[in-house]
Symmetry: C2
Subunit: 326 residues, 2 copies
C-alpha cells in the first residue's frame, strides 16, 4: 500500500503512467490555492474529464475503500484537497457541498491570515477566528480533514485542540531538523499526533536540511527520530511533488491575487522558482528509494509499511465520512 | 410505494410531516427555475440544512435504493431536479458536477428558448441546438434525466429521439383532455413513452380540464385512457404541488430575470396568482384519493400500484446512474 499525502503536479498522462509504474495506490491532490468556489468547481471538472479519459490509470477517491478498488483495478485513487479555505468563500454551507464533490482535506490557511486562522508567514498569530471554530465543527461533521501544513503554530495547536476529530499536517518536516518557517516545532507535532493526527514528510527542497542536496540517509534518520518521539503510527509521506510545473505556478501559489508585489515564499530573489528535487526523489517512480532508505537505517518492515501508506489508509478510513459512520 | 414526480412547495417541517402522514416515500423536488450555478448550490445548501435538522422526516435521495432505505426508516427520500438548464450556465462540465451534488432531472427549457432547446411558449420551435445535443449526451453518460415538461413539441420529440436513454415529462397531462399549451399531444407522449420514457400526471389546475373544478373521476378516466393508449407502465404522478407558496413565487417561476414586463404564463390578468387546488388534492395527505379514484373507475390493483409509484421507482432505478451501471 503506497499513499502520498500531497502532490500538486502539472498533471498529464505521462505523470499518471509514472504513478502506475511507481505503484502509487492513492494520492491527495491539491486542487485549490487561491481559487474561489466557482474556480475550484472548474478544477473538479478538469479532473472529471481526466477520469473519463484515463479510466485505466486513475479513479476518483471518496473513501479509503476506493483505494482497495483502485488497487484491484491497477489504478491510482485521486483524493482532493485545498491548501486554502478560499473555495468555501464566506459560506459555511460550501463545506458540505465541496465534501460531496470529493474534497477530503482543507487547510485553514495558506501562509497568510484567512477568515479561519493565521498562516505561517504572518507576524501575529491570533489563533482560530469565530468562523474558524464554526468551520472546524462543520468539517468534523461531514468528514473533511483539517490540514494545518501552512498555518502558524498557535493556530495549529488551537485547531488540534478544538477539532473533535484528528487533524493533519499533510506536508512538512520537523523544525528541529530544518528550521524553515513551514516546518513544525515539536510542540505543534505533539499537539497534532497526540490527538490521533498525522504528519506527512515532505521532500520539497525548501523543507529539507541542505535543501536539494539533502541526503536520503539524513531524510530517513529524521523520520526515524520523529517516529521515536511521536509514534510511528502517526507518520506518512506527503511529498509536495510539483512535477512539471512552470515557475509561473509557484508565483500563483505564493501570490495568488492578494498582492501586486513579488513574494518569494520559501524561496528568495536568487532562487525564485521551483527548487531542484533531491536526486533520490524526482517523480512518482522513486518512492521505493524512500522505503529502501528506511530499511537501510534499520527500520522494521511493519513500520516502513505504515509510513509508506498504511497509516494514511487508516487515517482516511476513520476521517473521510460523517462522524456516525467513523 | 408512493412517489411524486414533481413538487415545488414552500418547504417546512409542516409539509415534511404531511408527506409522512400521506405515506409519500419519495418526491422529485424542483430546486431551480432561473437560478445560476451558484444560486442552485445555495438551494442544495438549504436542503442540506433541512436534512440535518429533520433526519426523522426526510433524507437525500441519490438512487432508487435510497427509497427503500427511506421507507425502512420512515422518511421521505428527496430527489432534486431543475425546471431549466440555467444551473449549468454555458458549461457542459457542470452536468456531472450537479449530478454529483444530487441532481437527477433537468428540463432542457422552461417555457422560453434556452441554450439547449425551445420552450412551449415560443412562437418558433427550432428543436435541439448544437449545445442541446452535446448536453443530452453528457446527461445520458452520467445519468441525469432529460425532462421536457415545459418544452415545445418538436424539441421534445427530437430530445426523445436523440437521447439514448429514456426521457421524462414529469408533470403534464394529455392535450386531448385539456388543450393547455403545457399539456402534451399524443404524438409527443408517444415519442416519449415508446422509447421507455415516463409521463407524470399533474394536478396543477391550469393543466386540468375545468381547472380547479376538475372532478376526480374526470382526472382518473383521463389516466385510464392514457394507459390504454400508451401503456400503463409509462405513467406516474407528478402533482406539480406548489403548496404554501406566495404569489410572488409564481411570478419568479414565470418571469425570472428575463423580462421586466408582466408574464402570466398559464394564468391571466384576472387569475394571476397560484390557482386554487382541486378539492380532492390539497396536499401530500391526499394521494389516497387518487388511488381510490382509480379503483372506483375499475383500474386493477397492480396498475394502480404502478401509477402511484412503482413505475417511477423502476425508471429511477434504470436512469439515475452512469450507463454502465444501468
Amino acid at each position: 500500500m503506497l499513499i502520498d499525502g500531497l502532490q500538486y503536479a502539472n498533471w498529464s498522462e505521462k505523470i499518471f503512467r509514472q504513478m502506475r509504474e511507481g505503484g502509487v495506490d492513492a494520492v491527495h491532490v491539491t486542487i485549490a490555492y487561491h481559487e474561489t468556489f466557482r474556480e475550484t468547481v472548474l478544477n473538479f471538472e478538469k479532473w472529471n474529464r481526466w477520469f473519463e479519459l484515463y479510466p485505466d490509470l486513475i479513479m476518483k477517491g471518496m473513501t479509503a475503500q476506493d483505494i482497495d478498488i483502485a488497487k484491484e483495478n491497477g489504478q491510482t485513487a485521486i483524493f482532493f484537497g485545498f491548501q486554502n479555505p478560499s473555495p468555501i468563500e464566506d459560506d459555511i454551507g460550501l463545506v458540505e457541498i465541496l465534501h460531496t464533490l470529493g474534497a477530503r482535506f482543507m487547510q485553514l490557511t495558506y501562509n497568510n491570515q484567512s477568515l479561519l486562522a493565521t498562516g505561517c508567514y504572518e507576524a501575529n498569530d491570533t489563533g482560530l477566528t469565530r468562523m474558524g471554530k464554526e468551520v472546524i465543527r462543520e468539517m468534523n461533521r461531514v468528514g473533511l480533514v483539517v490540514d494545518m501544513s501552512h498555518s502558524a503554530d498557535r493556530s495549529t495547536i488551537e485547531a488540534a485542540d478544538y477539532s473533535d476529530r484528528p487533524i493533519a499536517i499533510t506536508h512538512a518536516n520537523p523544525h528541529a531538523w530544518h528550521p524553515a518557517l513551514r516546518n513544525k516545532t515539536d510542540e505543534v507535532i505533539r499537539a497534532v499526533t497526540s490527538r490521533g493526527g498525522m504528519l506527512g514528510f515532505s521532500v520539497y527542497p525548501h523543507h529539507l536540511k541542505d535543501k536539494s542536496a539533502c541526503t536520503l540517509t539524513s531524510f530517513c534518520e529524521m523520520i526515524a527520530r520523529t517516529a521515536d518521539k511521536f509514534g510511528v503510527e502517526h507518520l506518512g509521506i506527503g511529498t509536495d511533488l510539483c512535477q512539471d510545473q512552470p515557475d509561473s505556478v509557484v508565483e500563483w501559489m505564493r501570490m495568488g491575487r492578494w498582492t501586486k508585489s513579488m513574494d518569494y515564499g520559501e524561496g528568495s530573489a536568487s532562487q525564485a522558482g521551483f527548487p531542484e528535487m533531491p536526486t533520490w526523489f524526482a517523480d512518482n517512480r522513486d518512492f521505493g528509494n524512500i522505503a529502501d532508505g528506511l530499511r537501510a537505517i534499520g527500520m522494521g518492515t511493519d513500520e516502513i509499511a505504515g509510513i509508506m501508506g498504511q497509516n494514511w489508509y487508516r487515517f482516511f478510513d476513520e476521517n473521510f465520512g460523517p462522524r456516525s459512520a467513523a
